[in-house]
């Protein structure tokens, strides 16, 4: 890192006076959170003034908000002034146009993680927008998508090229003041992904983004905005991996989805941030706000998530079923092993008539893991004939872990039909012995049983993602038997 805090301050002052400043040497913001931090980020991104104002407003609101304590998770207080809010890879100054221009070390890291980049993805027909330490360094298939009129780019690029779309939809699903971490993200977000699917367009390929945290002590604040215009369809895949590290890291992303009339968005996540070691040291704090707005009639938003990583997961991908006949779905597998804690679930807010929602949640607890399902089904007065089906299953491995269920149901319209099923089970010795007697190793037997338990969720994932998810469960449960 070049430059002292003093230098950066001077630089920031300079930059702010100039309005825009592109030639900045610093690749990492010094730790701390104040107006200057936002100006630094905004200047780095060459952002228009309205966006900086938006950030500043968010910071102001955030300062006035108390840190939420209601989740069933425990962690030491976070020092928000000790976090660096912006880090970019060294080679980010000029964005590479092809793989040849990408830092070979980056590629090496991807290879180690087994992330198939361009060639593999090309074969699989998937475009990748890789976010590495907050800045997109590589985007594929732009041309093909452009031909279909699909916009798929980094958030920063969208701000430059499609400011009217960004300005119109940013914060329209998750307002700045929505919650503590959403406000924080709104203030300091550095990059993320932007997707726009034009009217009547079926996105010609699955869109995929791999997120990764790499720089020491830098929080990751991604911002994703997906807009599916009338009658369009898109399937979006988000996968995360993170390398070994021993310091807690804060990850507070915001994802906003907007589905207009008859549009459908399918959003799939495999989340594998570093969970900390077996003694509970280190690991990512994953405090994410994800919400989809079924704004148009007959629209549909489907969330599928496989959460195996992070020391703490605090995440409720939700649907606001505003349009009449709109559909919301939530399929989730959350696994906690060792000392991991997860408090996850969904909110289905029924506003429109004949709206339907489905919630399938599978929680797996092993080691000393604590797993909570927290879900809200709200049927507003206006939601005539709304229906919800909720199924919430927990699987326990060993006797030191925990599973908790917090279902909230609020019904203001008597025509609503709500079903809720819940179960808690343990992997039985009988099942394990049966499989081992057939010649299956103990760990493989556990994987088989766990994958069977998760089947209803995995079948919602795109094929290759499902395979990845199964492998991930296996890796995450290593050492959980016996």
């Amino acid at each position: 890192m070049s430059g002292t805090t003093q230098d950066v301050r001077e630089l920031l002052g300079q930059k702010y006076q100039a309005g825009f400043y592109t030639d900045i040497e610093q690749e990492q913001a010094p730790p701390g959170l104040n107006e200057d931090t936002l100006r630094f980020i905004s200047a780095k991104k060459n952002e228009p003034s309205w966006l900086l104002e938006w950030r500043l407003k968010a910071l102001e609101r955030w300062r006035a908000m108390p840190e939420p304590k209601w989740a069933h998770v425990h962690y030491p207080p976070i020092d928000f002034q000790a976090i660096s809010y912006y880090a970019a890879p060294k080679s980010a100054k000029d964005k590479p146009q092809s793989l040849d221009e990408v830092d070979p070390k980056l590629l090496e890291t991807y290879a180690k993680l087994g992330i198939p980049l361009e060639e593999q993805k090309m074969l699989a027909g998937v475009a990748v927008d890789v976010v590495f330490d907050s800045v997109s360094v590589h985007t594929t298939f732009k041309d093909k998508l452009a031909a279909a009129g699909v916009i798929f780019c980094s958030f920063a690029e969208a701000v430059q090229k499609h400011p009217e779309l960004v300005r119109r939809y940013l914060g329209s699903v998750v307002p700045v003041t929505d919650n503590y971490y959403a406000a924080l993200n709104s203030a300091v977000f550095s990059d993320g992904s932007f997707v726009y699917i034009p009217k009547g367009t079926r996105c010609p390929m699955e869109l995929s983004t791999y997120f990764r945290i790499n720089a020491m002590n830098s929080g990751q604040f991604e911002r994703t905005l997906i807009i599916a215009d009338e009658g369009s369809y898109v399937s979006y895949l988000e996968g995360c991996t993170a390398p070994m590290r021993d310091e807690n890291q804060l990850h507070a992303a915001v994802v906003e989805l907007v589905a207009l009339e008859r549009a459908e968005i399918k959003y799939s996540t495999v989340q594998n941030w570093y969970p900390g070691d077996e003694n509970g040291v280190g690991g990512i704090y994953n405090f994410v706000t994800k919400r989809g707005d079924c704004r148009g009639a007959h629209s549909k938003i489907s969330w599928t998530q496989v959460e195996t990583g992070s020391a703490i997961t605090w995440k409720y991908p939700s649907c606001v079923l505003r349009g009449d006949h709109s559909v919301g779905e939530f399929y989730s597998v959350a696994l906690t092993n060792h000392h991991q804690q997860a408090d996850t679930g969904t909110k289905m807010v029924h506003l429109g008539r004949n709206t339907r929602s489905t919630i399938i949640s599978k929680g797996i607890s092993a080691g000393r893991g604590q797993n909570a399902y927290r879900g809200l089904v709200r049927i507003a007065k206006s939601a005539e004939n709304a229906r919800n089906y909720t199924q919430c299953d927990s699987l326990l491995m060993g006797d030191k872990c925990g599973a908790h269920t917090f279902p909230y149901i609020e019904v203001k319209n008597a025509s609503a039909k709500i079903e809720h099923e819940a179960s808690t089970s343990k992997i039985s010795d009988d099942q394990l012995f049966y499989l081992r007697q057939r010649g299956i190793r103990a760990e493989d037997a556990v994987n088989l049983i766990v994958n069977g338990f998760c089947k209803e969720v995995f079948k919602e994932l795109p094929m290759e993602f499902a395979v990845e998810a199964q492998k991930l469960l296996g890796i995450s449960l290593e050492g959980a038997v016996g």
Binding site: S428, D429, D430, Q431, F433, Y434, L435, R436, Q437, R438, G439, I440, R441, A442, D444, A445, L448, I449, N451, G452, F453, C454, K455, E456
Partner: protein, 249 residues
């Protein structure tokens, strides 16, 4: 093939097997009979490696190897198969998928290449047909929603796929009507060969009408109290177990 010597087993501190000696040569079929609570199922489970049993003395050798030192999956890979009295249901786990994992686990242990999906599917379809297992059951979750007869038939089907050297049938006849019993026995008889041995654990002689054993052993109070040829089973049917149990006490 199988050589059990002076096997003593306790469950929760209570002796259940009290000095079992049993030798099974390749190709032989041995029936283990006896009243309820005599230790028949314990013997089957101890050979297969189930936890919860404490072996206090003795050995169980399989082709010269000490089975008691091996994990259950290693015993399976050595060629030991247990057909369960109560096959457990495993929700969400496809029957075929489970068997493929099992067969490939065993092949890996033996240093053989794993079978691919297409190759495996062809192989099991033929096996299913041979034991009369409905195709529709192949892709159902393991034993889930199976009738009692279907579960037992599934056990025999799995045995035919895994091709063990020693198959232990634990009360495979329990809960079966005569047609199902015949079908299961037929599946077993198809697999009889000079290199493969069977230990048939049963309470009733009825099964032995269809799976004809070379030897019959009577287990009572944790000991083999009488061994004999096939005719012993018929005698037991006529006279019951009491005379032997009394003699052993």
């Amino acid at each position: 093939m199988l050589k059990i010597e002076n096997l003593h087993v306790e469950v929760a501190g209570k002796p259940v097997l009290r000095g079992i000696d049993l030798t099974v040569a390749p190709g032989e079929v041995h029936a283990i009979m006896g009243p309820n609570g005599s230790g028949k199922s314990t013997l089957a489970h101890v050979i297969a490696g189930r936890e919860g049993y404490e072996v206090t003395q003795g050995s169980v050798k399989f082709n010269g190897k000490e089975l008691l030192a091996l994990e259950p999956e290693a015993r399976a890979a050595e060629g030991v198969f247990l057909a369960f009295q109560y096959p457990v249901e495993i929700p969400g786990v496809n029957n075929v998928y489970m068997l493929k994992a099992a067969l490939n686990g065993i092949r890996k242990y033996r240093g053989l290449p794993e079978l691919g999906a297409a190759e495996f599917l062809g192989f099991i379809k033929a096996k299913a047909k041979a034991v009369g297992l409905k195709d529709s059951l192949l892709n159902r979750p393991v034993n889930q929603g199976f009738s009692g007869g279907e579960k037992k038939r599934n056990e025999i089907f799995q045995m035919s796929v895994l091709e063990p050297l020693l198959a232990i049938l634990d009360e495979t006849d329990s809960g079966l009507d005569i047609d199902a019993l015949k079908a299961v026995a037929e599946g077993v008889n198809l697999m009889r060969s000079p290199g493969r041995s069977f230990v048939v654990v049963t309470h009733y002689q009825r099964l032995l009408d269809y799976i004809v054993p070379d030897y019959v052993h009577v287990l009572a109070q944790g000991r083999i109290v009488k061994s004999g040829p096939r005719e012993l089973a018929l005698e037991l049917e006529a006279r019951g177990y009491d005379w032997l149990v009394e003699a052993a006490a």
